[in-house]
Amino acid sequence: MTKRLHLAHFSVFRDARGRDAESVETHAETPRDLFDELFSSARGVAPSPQTWARVAINDDLAAWDALLSDGDTVVFLAPSAGG
């Protein structure tokens, strides 16, 4: 069964997706699955996001192997330089 997830995109992920936000129907169980689906499937390249990025679920930091639920909001966090 698929779930519906909401995504907001920032920084390099926004550039890669070409939009600020989107909703997707997906079989992804974890943020790692979702990341691969969105950013790596076309090329078969897996950028191993857990080594250089973070992920938030429903506006708080989460683990890359957390279980996603229908209706969750997911944001991938690229490294940033801050102030």
Partner: protein
Amino acid sequence: MSFALSDVSLDATACRAALLAAAPSGASGGIVTFEGVVRDHADGRAVQALEYHAYAALARREGARITGEAQDRFRVEAVHVVHRTGHLSLGETAVWVGAAAAHRDAAFEACRWTLDAVKARVPIWKREHYADGPAEWVGAPEVEGLASHRSDP
């Protein structure tokens, strides 16, 4: 203890007033503030302007955690942070951090620690516009899989 985002120019006087409003009157012997200002060059390249994009909900949550942690770590009366979002011109303040404490050591240490924590943990991204080339997200890695997506059909 507070963290705020602002999409309009930061005013150092107003930031300082907000810090002192959170400190018990008469108890603060030392006040240390930091302002990060948009410079005209970065890594040897001429910078024309900046954008800051914040994931606002998480930025506020993480920012509040940081100022709370600063109070636990240091003997401070108050810590206040304001971070800009949006387009900034040269000379504008990007981030303001203030710490008020009974003793100056704690004020210096808390200000510095809070600044470093904000830069490391708060999800705000900086895009620099250069005189000599396309804008870039500062601190972002070059990821082959990601970059290729931009030209995917």
